[in-house]
Symmetry: C2
Amino acid sequence: MTEHPAARTMPARTAYHHGDLRAQMIAAVRDLVETHGPDGFSVAEAARRAGVSSAAPYKHFRDRAEILRGVVGEAMDRLRAAMEAGAATYPAGSVEAVAAVGLAYVSFARAEPGVFRLTFGLTEGHGNDADLRAKGEDDFGVVVRCAAACLGLPPDDPHVQACAYMLWSFVHGHSFLTIDNKRSVASTRIDDWTYLMTVSRAILGQANRG
Amino acid sequence: MTEHPAARTMPARTAYHHGDLRAQMIAAVRDLVETHGPDGFSVAEAARRAGVSSAAPYKHFRDRAEILRGVVGEAMDRLRAAMEAGAATYPAGSVEAVAAVGLAYVSFARAEPGVFRLTFGLTEGHGNDADLRAKGEDDFGVVVRCAAACLGLPPDDPHVQACAYMLWSFVHGHSFLTIDNKRSVASTRIDDWTYLMTVSRAILGQANRG
DNA sequence: CCCTAGAAGTAAGAGTTGCTAACTTTACCC
DNA sequence: GGGTAAAGTTAGCAACTCTTACTTCTAGGG
């Protein structure tokens, strides 16, 4: 799916065995993370699934952590795409568009809890990675733009930034509690959409109507 | 600190070498998790730090996961204590008390990001653990009671539950984004206390003044 | 068309880890 | 004191990460 830097230096698709082990490794790891949890994967097992020796991946990744970074980067791309798609289903500037972005976020977490947890949980090694940081800002940018459109303010307005951050932490927390099953602790069964609409309205309205 | 079940079956403090390897293991793992990240610990290294052979821990824990569960359980106890202490610094029923609970939560995450991440991130193996589940409900109970007092409603009121859940997901998300350094993505530098007060007021006020 | 550089793979191995099995040491209780 | 059981030890297996040295395939220039 995503085009990787390696595609530049490589004739793409015409190599020793696969020609595209990097992408296949990422896919395999994504699968493993999803089925066995974020730490329940091994590069050995992923290599096995890709049909190569356990040393082969090290021609494409420096170490285990870099493989994870690859998975996370790809996930962040997909998350952003999902958020943008969500926003696009409602008129720009509407509260619904904001809520839809949140729904896309939560849906992603629910659909791929392992990858989601990995993406936001394993920031030990790759927290300083410039590439991932940029992707993170891109993701946040979607929220910011929606909030800005809704509030009728420029995206760099401090109020917009504050609102976007609030929305993000809300949705992020909700996502985590959902996949951690902590949600059932509260005796209420809240519908995602109405929940997100309520929250979005509360946060955005607060600045608007004041 | 915390009294463990093992203390019952054991003469406590008068054994082979330590008499309390279980607690020392938990402490060692907590340290390792804090310094090397949630997956950057090994039971071998923890045992080494405790001054015992790498097989010794298995007399007290079934496996690696159970050690983690021990650390998480202890952390949840401390988190609850911190939240209760926070609430107690303001008059019962005040919005400040609610915000203080949130501040305790965020402070805990900031002080022990590794343990915090472990507590809420590693729900793969021990998500079904009854003990941890109970502790999680206890933690949530603090929020519920504060919200109930603030709203002047019984704790089992659906509205209280919904508000408490909202508050929790908000604070939870904020905590995670904070320790993930995602916070600096937003160009605003928000003070924790005013942030939490704003949020608490918004969520609780919404039902109150309507 | 060959031949060479280098990318992409393999096999073998060092070192660490999780966990088990079998044994030993210690403390308590009668 | 002797028996019992908890709490520790050593030894060892299988698996994993990552390295080194070797092989194989492909692309591209002369």
